[in-house]
């Protein structure tokens, strides 16, 4: 069987979307479990930090996708998919984190 690195390629393309999923589930679970035991401000701070880290990673993946698109000879489909998923990842993480800026974390 030729070494086509199917899993590595799939992970490479889907990494920004996986990051979005990780950010959403992490934020959801933390908000659901921490509100009883931590203050509103603490929860807000952790969630903001978590979202900033996720956003930084998403932007990093976007820059990487753009850079690799310009400098390496890759199949057009794969480089396009990598870039498209990276754009969706940045939008997804940023948009999902927006409520943190306008709502109290443990508000009723």
């Amino acid at each position: 069987m030729p070494r086509e690195r199917l899993f590595a390629m799939t992970f490479d393309v889907c990494a920004p979307l996986l990051l979005w999923a990780l950010h959403l589930f992490g934020a959801y679970v933390f908000a659901a479990t921490a509100c009883g035991s931590m203050s509103d401000d603490q929860v807000q701070l952790v969630l903001l930090a978590w979202s900033l880290i996720a956003l930084a990673c998403a932007v990093g993946l976007l820059i990487r996708a753009t850079y690799r698109r310009r400098h390496f000879v890759l199949a057009r489909l794969l480089s396009g998919m990598r870039l498209g998923c990276a754009v969706l990842g940045v939008i997804g993480v940023a948009w999902t984190a927006l409520p943190l800026l306008v709502l109290p974390s443990c508000g009723v």
Partner: protein, 840 residues
């Protein structure tokens, strides 16, 4: 672009009798033996026909509901009957029509579209179909004896619990739906392996038809979404059958757990239904516009985006449950974000139509209707993603209007377009344009008349699932309009089906390529698929590779006959579609039908308490599966086969190169996800109480779990040693010894774990926490039982001399399941031990 005759894999003239031999090997059995056929074309057509039958039956139930609601205070249906009717309408439409029909169309279309002779597991397709058909029909018949489920299509507890639904109605839903989902997963395994590894040579990922991309994403979504509903139904059935209180609040249970699990499946399911329709639309629109698809790469990205985002939306069905504000807001934001990849597809379709010269045929009209209705449904979807708006319209007719716009607009209209478009593949005849236009006009007008007023009746406060209403509430004329619209819609659909039957009854003729399409399914084909497997050099091969149809039909491309004397197809690599080996395929057999009938009967008989007949049917199903596996795991008919004038390929493969290895790995992914859902139920139960373990329960001593874990590791090592034994040496005493030792280790580990829990006084009926612990343990026990059967099967194969180097798939795949069970057996008890300590 055209191929130079010298560059083609095979030369003319072809050997005498080559085509006749191919026809003989693939010929469909005649008469009643047709039902043992496993060929994808026959199974696909049966599958589509059965799904459409369920569509008609559920549609009739919908009409009954509209008749009941046409006027206030109507007594056509009583409250109890109405409850059963709306539950069955939703359940049948979602589980017995929408999901099966998209898989059915894929089973029928994909092999030809990919240039394969058949899907890689034809008997699995047959099993999936028969389990669905027999189980589904039996399930539907419960309506005629008043035993149909009546708790709504999503069966929320506590309403569906024993206290409020004491009869077997809910059990029919739980067991019936459970194995229909298993059938869907079998279909998904087939599709993933088929799409990745049986594409025609040269059909790289970037040349793969967009429909295949769609079905690949959908099949992966099925693998990740459906385990949640299987786990949920198992938990509710355990509660109903054995009083394990997962959802009973008085004993630490929580009905919200059901909603999390159900909607983790239920929301992706909407996209599992919509995306295949979108894939069909992306295939038909370029043909209608006679230009290639605009934004192929963007659509593939959009498919991946929808696939991921759809899993983050599960809680948007739970906005009124009482979750925290921030959790709701995250899910609300994600619900809006999914509009982006969906819109990418819509704009790509509009751009393709804009660039081309669309012909307004009947399929085109249905597609335009789809675009209009689906976009409206999508817009109301964004509205209900806004939490305060959702609070106002939750459980009202606004929601009924919204999801009918999404589902009928997003799936049924494209399906009608697809049926009209691809029907010539069945017997070469096209449907009547005149009838098609009438059918479209009536369906479009009827649909909007039926469902648009429901937005308003919902905003006026009409709740869903009421069997009647007071005449003074101001809903009368809106409901009457909806009922008239529903009947006009039904008339449009009836016209379509009448024309379809008329067309199918016409004499068979050569299909040709009536729409001048670009995809491979329009190549001349018979029971064996196409005469030779084409070498692909373009994304639109029939447009850009001139003369391809003639070359393929003459046998100039790959594998023009039967190279091994049996059924076979080409296995190619996942990315570049480089030919790897010839895959021998199993022939027609009654065994999948017997196994499916046994499975369906086992579950249904168990539901009505007929334990002994159920056990007999269960044993028959297991025996049929063993017989089926026994037949297919055999040495290749030849070490190598000639697929081109100068090209020879190995026949069959082992390990990671084998299709069975991939199928087993996907099945184990499902298995691990079900296990993860049970662990989630445990975590949910642990966090629901003030202390963990709750009062009256305690953890077993850690030593029990550690000892069991060590034994599991040893058991896996034993099996791995057995797997590496020299198989040429006969008799295989050492190999058998290690299999026996591995089985003993596996059983002993389970007994030790069970003893530990027993010593800790585990009582699953006492509280939800204990029930969750017992479920993790029981799931391990279920696997151990399967492995004992598998070990006996392997020993039997060894004794009969059939476990050889060239026929060792049974051993290799059992080893995968074995290691996975060991992993579960270690992770489960460790999670049970560690979570309470982590929670303090």
């Amino acid at each position: 672009m055209s191929s130079s005759p010298d560059s083609l894999p095979n030369i003319l003239p072809r050997p005498e009798g080559e085509r006749e031999k191919l026809e003989a090997v693939w010929r469909t059995p005649q008469g009643w033996r047709f039902f043992k056929s496993v060929n994808n074309t026959n199974i696909g057509l049966l599958y589509i026909g059965t799904a459409l039958l369920f569509f008609v039956l559920a549609g009739i139930l919908g009409l009954l509901m509209r008749m009941q609601l046409a006027v206030p205070g109507n007594d056509l249906l009583g409250a109890s009957t109405y409850n059963q009717v709306f539950t069955m309408h939703g359940t049948v439409m979602m589980f017995l029509f929408a999901i099966p029909v998209v898989e059915a169309i894929a089973v029928f279309l994909l092999p030809n579209m990919l240039g394969a002779r058949d899907l890689p597991f034809p008997r699995l397709s047959a099993y999936a179909y028969w389990a669905y058909a027999i189980g589904g029909l039996a399930f539907f018949c419960t309506l005629f004896v008043g035993l149909a489920p009546d708790g709504g299509w999503f069966m929320y507890p506590p309403l569906s619990g024993k206290q409020y639904s004491p009869d077997v109605n809910a059990d029919f839903w739980l067991l019936g739906i459970g194995f229909i989902e298993i059938s869907a997963i079998a279909g998904a395994i087939e599709l993933i392996v088929g799409i990745l590894f049986t594409r025609a040579p040269g059909m790289t990922l970037s040349r793969m038809p967009i429909y295949a991309w769609t079905m690949l994403v959908v099949a992966v979504m099925i693998v990740f979404a459906f385990p949640a509903v299987i786990a949920a139904t198992a938990l509710l059935e355990l509660e109903r059958a054995f009083d394990w209180p997962f959802f009973i609040a008085e004993r630490g249970g929580d009905s919200v757990l059901w909603q999390h699990l159900f909607w983790f499946f239920g929301h992706p399911e909407v996209y599992i239904i919509f995306l295949p329709a979108a894939g069909m639309v992306s295939t038909m629109i370029p043909t209608i516009a006679q230009t290639s698809l605009v934004g192929y790469r963007a659509i593939v990205v959009a498919l991946l985006g929808v696939g991921f985002f759809s899993f983050g939306l599960w809680a948007h069905h739970m906005f009124s449950v009482g979750l925290g504000t921030m959790e709701l807001s995250f899910v609300s934001a994600a619900s809006m974000a999914v509009a982006i990849p969906t819109a990418i597809q819509v704009f790509a379709w509009i751009a393709t139509l804009w660039r081309g010269s669309p012909r307004l045929t009947a399929p085109a009209l249905f597609l335009l209707g789809f675009l209009f209705i689906f976009v409206l449904g999508g817009l109301t979807g964004v509205m209900v993603a806004v939490v305060p708006f959702d609070w106002q319209v939750h459980d009202s007719y606004f929601i009924v209007a919204h999801f009918h716009y999404v589902l009928i607009g997003g799936m049924v209209f494209p399906m009608f377009a697809a049926l009209a478009y691809w029907l010539p593949l069945v017997n070469g005849n096209t449907m009547s344009e005149r009838w098609g236009r009438w059918s479209f006009a009536l369906s479009f007008i009827g649909f909007n008349l039926a469902f648009f007023p429901m937005h308003i009746s919902g905003l006026l406060g009409m709740p869903r699932r009421v069997y009647t209403y007071d005449g003074t509430l101001g809903w009368n004329s809106l409901n009457m309009l909806s009922t008239i619209g529903a009947f006009i819609l039904a008339l449009g659909i009836a016209l379509f089906f009448i024309d379809m039957v008329r067309t199918l009854r016409k004499p068979k003729q050569h299909a040709g390529n009536p729409w001048h399409a670009s995809t491979l399914e329009w190549l001349p084909n018979e029971d064996y698929g196409m005469r030779s497997i084409p070498q692909i050099a373009s994304r639109d091969p029939l447009w850009e590779q001139t003369g391809l149809a003639e070359e393929v039909e003459q046998g100039r491309h790959w594998l023009p006959g039967t190279a091994t004397g049996g059924r076979e197809t080409l296995m190619t690599s996942a990315v570049q579609a480089t030919p790897l080996h010839v895959l021998p395929l199993p022939t027609d057999s009654w065994l999948p039908l017997i196994a499916a009938a046994g499975t369906a009967a086992f579950f249904l008989l168990l539901t009505i308490g007929a334990v002994l007949p159920a056990a007999v049917c269960g044993v028959a199903a297991v025996a049929a599966v063993c017989g089926w596996l026994w037949q297919i795991d055999r040495p290749s008919p030849a070490p190598q086969a000639r697929i081109g004038e100068h090209t020879w390929l190995p026949v069959g493969a082992r390990g990671i190169a084998s299709h069975a290895w991939w199928g087993t790995c996907i099945m184990l992914t499902v298995d691990l996800l079900i296990f993860a859902c049970f662990l989630f139920a445990y975590a949910h139960a642990s966090m629901s109480g003030a202390t963990c373990p709750p009062p009256g329960a305690r953890l077993p001593a850690l030593g029990w779990s550690l000892s069991a874990g060590m034994l599991l590791l040893a058991s896996s090592v034993m099996l791995e040693v057995a797997r590496r034994c020299d198989m040429h040496r006969q008799p295989q005493r050492l190999l058998r010894l290690f299999i026996v030792l591995a089985a003993i280790g596996m059983c002993a580990a389970f007994v030790i774990e069970w003893r530990g829990q027993h010593a800790a006084g585990l009582d699953p009926t006492a509280q939800a926490w204990s029930a969750a612990v017992a479920t993790v343990l029981a799931y391990q026990g279920f696997h151990v039982a399967i492995l004992v059967i598998a070990a006996a099967y392997l020993l039997f194969r060894s004794w009969s001399g059939r476990l050889k180097m060239a026929s060792r798939a049974s051993l290799d795949n059992t080893a995968l399941i074995w290691h996975c069970t060991s992993l579960q057996g270690i992770v489960g008890p460790m999670t049970i031990q560690l979570l309470p300590q982590w929670m303090g």
